[in-house]
């Protein structure tokens, strides 16, 4: 694992203020994390937990109220850094009066690259996101998923080293989300760094190396996905087509050894973790929830 840090935040805090400078919301509170080169990093959390705010702070679209953020070694919003960044906003904020080709050409021109490279890449990307048929239509006529696709193409126009995706799969059809997942994996293989927010936990679990879960602007969970999901004091037995009798036998054995257990059908475990985190955080606000397995301290388990 590469240890070069690509995004680093230190006590990053964002308080939204109104016109008069009065505090409205503390959207992000003292976020400290780092994203390393070559990994896929997932930023999770319920609605309004500060994911988009964090990404915007990293890009310099918002200015931190406190703390600092550096991205590719530079302060947020640096022009030279932006040459190497791709950003897919939460909703595709594009010019609705341009068509797909014009959009890619426009964004391509903003980068320092030769004209023929720009044209080739635009063509490839339109094919890659499956918009050949609609490439001459203005974006105002696009459906949500189509807009998402052109938004993704726009984020990749400069072949970026670091890609920030804010809910990349929202609005995409099942095949689209599948393609997105494949794309992220492929980007990782190419050695790129990806930071993504998503509510599709199964996808996150599949593609992300590390995750952070935010709630109410606070960092609740942070670490490697495989480690976070490994519960050391729980042993999982998986079996298929177990008969009633077999289950009773297993129960008898376990009881004999004095184990606490329950038997049901497995769920997506990141989903478990997520829900648990959010519940826990609601019960004990402000405190960082430490999931089992990350520290020797035992905690409540099923």
């Amino acid at each position: 694992m590469n240890t070069e840090v690509v995004i680093q935040t230190r006590n990053l805090t964002k308080i939204y203020r109104d016109f008069w400078g009065r505090k409205k919301v503390r959207a992000l509170n003292s976020l400290t994390l780092d994203v390393r080169k070559g990994e896929v990093f997932g930023l999770l959390g319920p609605n309004g937990s500060g994911k988009t705010t964090s990404i915007k702070l990293m890009l310099g679209l918002l200015f931190p109220s406190e703390g600092e953020v550096s991205i590719l070694g530079n302060p947020a919003g640096d022009v030279n850094t932006n040459e190497r960044i791709g950003y897919l906003p939460e909703e595709s904020y594009l010019y609705r009066f341009l068509n797909a080709e014009e959009t890619l050409d426009f964004y391509g021109r903003l980068f320092n690259m030769p004209a023929n490279v720009r044209r080739d890449r635009a063509k490839q990307l339109i094919e890659r996101v499956g918009l050949q048929a609609a490439r001459k239509r203005q974006l105002r006529e696009y459906s949500k998923g189509m807009t998402r696709r052109i938004g993704l193409a726009q984020a990749l126009i400069n072949d970026p080293d670091l890609i920030l995706l804010d809910e990349p799969t929202s609005g995409l059809d099942p095949i689209g989300s599948r393609d997105m997942k494949d794309l992220i994996v492929k980007l990782k293989e190419e050695g790129k760094t990806v930071l993504m927010c998503s509510h599709l936990l199964a996808d996150v679990q599949d593609v992300c190396d590390r995750i952070a879960i935010l709630d109410g602007g606070e960092l609740k969970v942070f670490g490697r996905v495989d480690e976070l999901l490994k519960e050391q004091d729980v042993t999982q037995i998986r079996a298929s087509r177990l008969s009633e009798q077999a289950i009773k036998d297993v129960e008898a054995v376990l009881t004999k050894h004095g184990a606490k257990f329950e038997i049901d059908h497995p769920t997506t475990s990141l989903e478990d973790l997520f829900i648990k985190t959010v519940r826990e955080s609601a019960a004990r606000p402000g405190q960082r929830y430490v999931p089992p397995g990350t520290t020797p301290q035992p905690s409540k388990s099923n």
């Binding site: 022009v79 950003y87 010019y95 009066f97 903003l110 400069n158």
Partner: protein
């Protein structure tokens, strides 16, 4: 005829003045920002200010034409595709129909020309106002509101490139519109005018008497336009016949009174093989008795070369009121002793020609101002002066565009529009008043504003003291005058911040059949446009850079 003096624009003095004003402004801004940053950020504040200045300088130095080009094309596409331009059609329709309501009663072709030309040019500027406001004040705020700017600023784009792109794109679209509407206006003038008037369309190229040098205020003989009173004594002006605003002053007939016009630097402007020179005058007549109603008031010119002691009188002529007279001066003239004199070789030998104008009808008066007498060099086609008139509107449009884009960098669409429109309105209307109040403009020769600033005026109204009576020297008077002095200084500062939009209105030249002089009008307009555009772009850049692009 023109009712204002022709002051050529002095580029070097203008530049120095501009540098002075910008420098002063910069110092004020630096002091306030440093103070604010110290108060809000502590000791790191000034460092932050310095960083921003360095970053700003870097951004401007590293501006990329490619990105500016892309952003310009974007702004052009936006203007066309968002259909903001519908306003153009609305005004075009207005323009076409309004012609029906132009007064048609007057058969005088010159008046018809004046009406038609000034109507078209006025309409043009009224079309360009909403076009440039709509395009420039709404584009960026819309972009911020839709957050499409987020996608742009996360690319390697400098904020000044965004500002440049908007200005260039919107400027291009507005220029295209002005070109179209201006073309339609030209065709409209040509087709709408009766044949007699159409033939008179022209652009006269006059040589006017230059303004007096600033240090000639007291030295009578140094003045280029001066008077001799009825008793033969030197005077700065003629007689005031009761006009409050004394642009023209009058000379009495059949007396020693005369107005002296001194034309200078003629050698380069009049070719050596010229056979005759035309003098055109537009004097006003003021009758104090009916006299012979059949005959007009008579006027006579005498050409004088003071150094060579040469005087040659021309034939008296009848003054055509409201029309002007054209008098041809032949090369060969007779002086007072009936000797032959050559106009170019003798009279204008040193490039200077003095023309003395006298009224010779007893008891009547002739009114004259500096632009009322001029030498005519070959005319240019009307198309030339019309194009220059449109160029004035174009410069106004550029000013509005730059100001609108600047305002939209820190304000939302409606606020930016209101701000720009207000600046435009003030710029057209308030300068006269501000100039008078600060003593820059004389109400009449030698008379400036009387009655003090706002508080003194209020006091005078309450106490029933007329403006011309000085107040008694008391403590209260001094306090009031001190406060007023501050206010007037503030107004003097505001004069520099609000551009004088009147200078872009060149319609008076075109409508009166004059070519638009380059140094007096066009150069001044260009310099003003540039002079304001530069600081406005810088303000727009910093506003866009220092704000969060989050729509609230």
């Amino acid at each position: 005829m023109l009712t204002f003096d022709q002051l050529p624009f002095d580029v070097v003095a203008g530049l120095l003045h501009w540098l002075g004003v910008c420098g002063a402004l910069l110092v004020v801004i630096l002091i306030t920002t440093t103070a604010i940053s110290l108060a809000t950020m502590g000791l790191t504040g000034p460092l932050f200010v310095l960083q921003q200045l360095v970053a700003g300088a870097t951004d401007f130095a590293k501006t990329s034409p490619r990105r500016v080009g892309a952003l310009t094309v974007l702004a052009i596409r936006e203007a066309f595709r968002k259909k903001t331009l519908y306003v153009f059609y609305v005004f075009l329709a207005l323009f076409l129909f309004a012609g029906w309501f132009l007064p048609n009663s007057n058969e005088d072709p010159e008046l018809r020309i004046r009406e038609h030309v000034s109507f078209v040019l006025r309409t043009l500027s009224w079309v360009m106002l909403p076009v440039s406001l709509l395009l420039s004040c709404w584009s960026l705020p819309d972009d911020i509101k839709a957050r499409s700017l987020h996608t742009v600023v996360t690319k390697p784009v400098r904020r000044n490139e965004i500002v440049f792109g908007r200005i260039l794109g919107i400027g291009a679209v507005a220029s295209l519109i002005l070109f179209l509407v201006g073309g339609i206006g030209y065709i409209w003038i040509i087709r709408q005018l009766p044949p007699a008037a159409r033939e008179m369309l022209t652009a006269r190229v006059p040589i006017w008497v230059a303004p007096d040098p600033p240090d000639a205020k007291d030295e009578w003989s140094q003045r280029r336009f001066r008077f001799i009173g009825r008793d033969g004594k030197p005077e700065a002006t003629g007689i005031n016949t009761g006009d409050e605003y004394m642009f023209r002053s009058y000379i009495e007939g059949n007396s020693q009174a005369r107005a002296i016009y001194r034309f200078e630097r003629l050698t380069s402007r009049i070719p050596a093989d010229t056979q005759e020179i035309e003098l055109e005058s537009a004097f006003q007549v003021f009758r104090i008795h009916k006299g012979n109603i059949e005959r007009g008031i008579m006027c006579q010119f005498t050409l004088v070369n003071e150094a060579k002691k040469l005087r040659a009188s021309l034939k008296p002529f009848e003054v055509r009121e409201f029309r002007g007279n054209r008098i041809k001066i032949p090369r060969q003239l007779k002086d007072e002793d009936d000797k032959d004199v050559d106009l170019l070789r003798d009279l204008i030998a040193d490039g200077t020609l003095e023309v003395h104008a006298q009224c010779i009808t007893p008891g009547q008066y002739l009114g004259m101002a500096r632009p009322d007498l001029f030498l005519r060099t070959p005319d240019r086609p009307f198309f030339v002066s019309y194009t220059k008139g449109v160029a004035g509107i174009w410069m106004m449009m550029v000013m509005l565009t730059v100001m609108g884009v600047m305002a939209s960098c820190f304000a939302k669409g409606p606020v930016a529009t209101l701000f720009t429109a207000a600046m435009w309105g003030f710029g057209r209307m308030a300068h006269n008043f501000m100039g008078e109040l600060t003593g820059k403009i004389e109400l009449a020769p030698g008379t400036t504003w009387q009655g003090g600033g706002p508080f003194e005026s209020i006091w005078r109204i309450i106490a029933h003291i007329t403006p011309s009576v000085p107040l008694e020297d008391s403590f209260g008077t001094r306090v009031v005058q001190f406060i007023d002095g501050g206010i007037i200084k503030l107004i003097a500062a505001v004069q520099y911040i609000i551009p004088d939009f009147r200078i872009f209105n060149l319609a008076e030249y075109v409508a009166n059949g004059f070519d638009v002089p380059f140094d007096v009008a066009l150069l001044r307009g260009l310099a003003t446009t540039l002079g304001y555009a530069v600081p406005w772009i810088v303000v727009g850049y910093f506003s866009l850079k220092l704000r969060e692009l989050e729509a609230k």
